[in-house]
């Protein structure tokens, strides 16, 4: 594994703080892969995906009730404990019911390094930015609506940072993101072979680090690394080919990849926020850049979103797109407890995987702790053994 990817994946806070120190630039934290982080990049900010700690909560449990997403609560806890004190701003989209409340919780509970700039009761240099992301990601009026939302967001940023964000800046961001996407796609292509060109865990590390390193830099390193792997004929350990569906796979629950490998399986593709959903959707460079960014952001098939189709099947379509051609033998759904969107869609997707691709599905309910992940080992072993026959 490339040293840089490993460093960021294993010790993200230190790695990002060091980058900030070395470059003198700003860092913003954001939630969710549908966030238009390209706009932050265009403003010369490093956007980093906020994740949690997996440790018992120290502060957030006094504010957020327990029967809710443990990941979100842990992220908030990390913020309240000061682990994100190097952030110059935070962006919260209207993704799910829990995340969008992070706008309130983060704003009122996490100490901010910069002072508010109050004018007539309004903070003109907010620390937490909210993006009113639609819930239906297709439709005749959704793009004009969302472009307007992003324009407002961009203006808030410009005023906060006291610098313009020009179309050229945005176009540069679009180009850099596309370069990283093409290397990421290339990496996934390499996993179509049997055995796969790199292991699930390696792919995760590369994907996770892409959410912590400036995209142009990440693209450059990744290209070199993939060239090296290809010329060495590198192959991942063989295993039953597994499709992993889940949410934010981070340093807490990514051990599931290792457990799968140790049980005789290998993750070759996925439906994850720190996985295909973080890079799969292209930015159309023929469009005005803000619109291209809006469309990319809307194109991100988050489980909580719906579409204008009479009988929506966009989630099945995404699963199919990321699973076909990979010769999947089994699917593992790793869903965090109380994740309504994923729990609600699961039965239908499970049935479709069985009827359309004829693959068995294992459902694992996670609690966002490493101990919880370890407890899944016996079931993963049983599942893979069941497939082997």
């Amino acid at each position: 594994m490339h040293e840089i990817f490993a460093r960021f994946a294993e010790n993200r806070h230190e790695a990002v703080k060091k980058w900030k120190q070395e470059t003198g630039k700003k860092v913003f934290g954001y939630f969710c892969c549908l966030t238009p982080e390209e706009i932050l990049y265009a403003a010369d900010i490093l956007p980093v995906r906020i994740t949690g700690t997996g440790e018992p909560l120290q502060k957030a449990d006094l504010h957020v009730p327990p029967n809710s997403c443990a990941f979100a609560r842990s992220c908030l806890d990390a913020g309240m404990r000061g682990m994100y004190d190097y952030l110059d701003g935070v962006v919260v989209p209207n993704s799910c019911d829990i995340i969008f409340n992070m706008e309130f919780f983060w704003r009122t509970l996490v100490p901010r390094p910069t002072k508010p700039a109050m004018i007539a009761g309004v903070d003109i240099k907010p620390y937490v930015h909210y993006i009113n992301y639609p819930e239906k990601i297709t439709g005749r009026e959704v793009v004009p609506y969302y472009v307007e939302v992003l324009k407002n967001f961009k203006q808030d940023l410009e005023r906060s940072l006291n610098r313009p964000i020009t179309d050229d800046d945005l176009a540069r961001a679009v180009s850099a993101y596309n370069q990283d996407k093409s290397q990421m796609k290339r990496m996934y292509e390499m996993r179509k072979s049997d055995p796969a060109g790199l292991s699930g865990y390696e792919a995760w590390q590369i994907t996770y680090s892409s959410l912590l390193i400036p995209k142009d830099k990440h693209a450059g390193i990744l290209k070199g690394y993939l060239d090296e792997l290809e010329s060495n004929g590198h192959k991942a350990p063989e295993g039953v080919r597994i499709y992993l569906s889940g949410s934010a796979m981070d340093q807490v629950n990514a051990d599931i990849y290792k457990i799968i490998e140790e049980s005789g399986g290998q993750v070759v593709s996925d439906d994850l926020c720190v996985g295909t959903r973080s890079f799969w959707y292209p930015l159309n460079e023929e469009l005005p850049p803000l619109e291209a960014i809006a469309r990319r952001s809307l194109g991100t098939v988050c489980p909580r979103s719906t579409v204008t189709a009479r009988i929506p099947e966009n989630r099945w379509a995404h699963l199919l797109n990321t699973a076909k051609d990979f010769n999947i033998e089994g699917a593992i759904f790793y869903v965090l407890k109380c994740c309504d969107a994923r729990l609600g869609e699961f039965p239908h997707l499970r049935d479709k995987l069985k009827t359309e691709l004829d693959i068995p599905v294992l459902f694992l309910e996670g609690d966002y702790t490493s101990e919880g992940v370890e407890q899944m080992r016996s079931r993963v072993e049983a599942f893979i053994e069941m497939i082997e026959g």
Partner: protein
């Protein structure tokens, strides 16, 4: 508290006649819905916070899975069987729907999976010609209705209401937000026309909106009247009478219902009569009630406690009628609300002052995250800003399997003691 009865799940005793008879309105509405379907007319399954006047204007009869689930929470097939809500939730859970999911979703999904839509209370919900949901209130209804559409193979329309956040004063929506929501309403009307053939008639919509508007005004008046001391209308009455306003807005019958209710409340105030003889303290119920156990609202009466106010299902002031452009009016009406703790909490504090609340019972709904998420912040704010104690009641909306009577009783008894102590020490309870 030695004489206190066990908290056994049971129905509530209502203090108002109209509230006691409200169930007849519901039964009648279901019967009309079934007759509508039998006559070959279209039926829609929908949910709260969709503008019902549109349905009535387009000749649809709506059923509401969430309300149906609440109905299932109180009904049994036979005196010995479990509640219908439990029967249906089990069917859904066996098909793979997690028991952490919203109770409404599990119950209505189980009802659909059961295969026989008539094997249910009140003849069930008539088979739908379409499903319409909204992004307002929670995300769950998006996936839930998607799933039902896939299972029933019936077309679905989702109204996308952008989730606004306010910081400080409640403001009118920005033009692009209203424009977007209005486009949703237009698309909904096209969708209904495509399926049913009925064309949109603005005059008909205006007629329904007139009724809806008048009904809303009545409900706002009733809400104001409830501030009186002693409390003329309690939460049991409130929850029993929310159906017409929530689900039949736009009809004459809903208006007449609230007119009768308003008159009865006025009468009570004139006669100086409250819910109970000796009212000692007034309580807030935050959140959706434990539909399977409405008797909880009478729990404190033996010691002089009444539930005086509940924020769930309440009307809010609408922008004035705009007959020239009713769609714009509806868009504006819906876009002036949002979900944010920034306004929920200060609003609740204000309401506690107005209704002279001495304590809060917060429904700690383990499967309804949208409502339950602010609970701890609310409890903190009530204590810090108003010195009001509150108690958390862990429960599901409709699934009584997770309800622990013993635990709830213990908490409520301790809570009542806390309030009565304040009362005896002479501290003002009525703020």
């Amino acid at each position: 508290m030695e004489e206190e009865k066990q908290v056994v799940t049971k129905g509530s005793q209502k203090s108002l006649e109209v509230a006691r008879n409200a169930w007849k309105f519901i039964v009648q509405d279901y019967a009309e819905g079934h007759a509508h379907k039998k006559a070959g007319k279209p039926v829609v399954w929908s949910c709260a916070l969709v503008e019902k006047e549109l349905y009535h204007a387009m000749g649809l009869h709506p059923f509401y899975p969430e309300q149906f689930a609440a109905l299932c929470a109180v009904r049994r097939k036979t005196p010995d069987s479990v509640k219908e809500a439990v029967r249906f939730a089990r069917i859904a859970e066996q098909a793979g729907y997690s028991s952490d999911l919203c109770g409404y979703e599990r119950v209505s999904t189980g009802f659909v999976l059961n295969g026989d839509l008539e094997d249910a209370p009140l003849g069930g919900m008539a088979p739908p010609d379409m499903l319409v949901t909204t992004s307002s209130v929670c995300d769950v209804r998006l996936k839930w209705f998607e799933d039902m559409a896939q299972r029933l193979n019936v077309p679905l329309f989702t109204l996308d209401r952008p989730e606004r956040r306010f910081d400080g004063i409640m403001q009118y929506p920005k033009p692009h937000e209203t424009r977007y929501y209005r486009s949703q309403l237009e698309d909904l009307l096209s969708f209904i026309t495509e399926i049913t053939g009925t064309k949109y008639d603005p005059d008909r919509l205006n007629e329904c909106l007139d009724w809806g508007y008048k009904t809303n005004e009545l409900r706002l008046e009733i809400l104001e009247l409830r501030k009186a001391v002693p409390s003329p209308m309690g939460c049991a009455d409130g929850f029993a009478t929310m159906y017409p306003g929530m689900y039949c807005s736009g009809t004459k019958k809903a208006y007449e219902f609230y007119r009768a209710l308003r008159d009865e409340v006025r009468g009570k105030i004139k006669a100086g009569k409250g819910q109970i003889e000796k009212e000692k303290f007034r309580l807030l119920w935050y959140g959706i009630p434990t539909w399977f156990n409405m008797g909880i609202f009478n729990y404190f009466e033996p010691v002089g406690g009444v539930f005086a106010y509940e924020p769930a299902y309440n009307p809010h002031p609408w922008p004035p009628r705009n007959p020239k452009d009713p769609l714009e009016e509806i868009a504006l009406r819906t876009m002036t609300i949002g979900s944010t703790m920034s306004t929920t909490i200060p609003a609740l504090l204000e309401q506690c002052r107005e209704y002279r609340i001495a304590g809060g019972v917060l429904a700690y709904l383990i499967t309804c995250r949208a409502i339950y998420l602010p609970s701890l912040e609310i409890r903190r704010a009530l204590e810090k800003e108003l010195g009001i104690p509150s108690v958390l009641i862990e429960c599901d909306l409709v699934d009584e399997r997770t309800f622990s009577e013993g635990q709830v009783k213990t908490r409520m008894d301790a809570f009542a003691e806390q309030i009565l102590k304040k009362h005896e020490s002479g501290k003002s309870l009525n703020n």
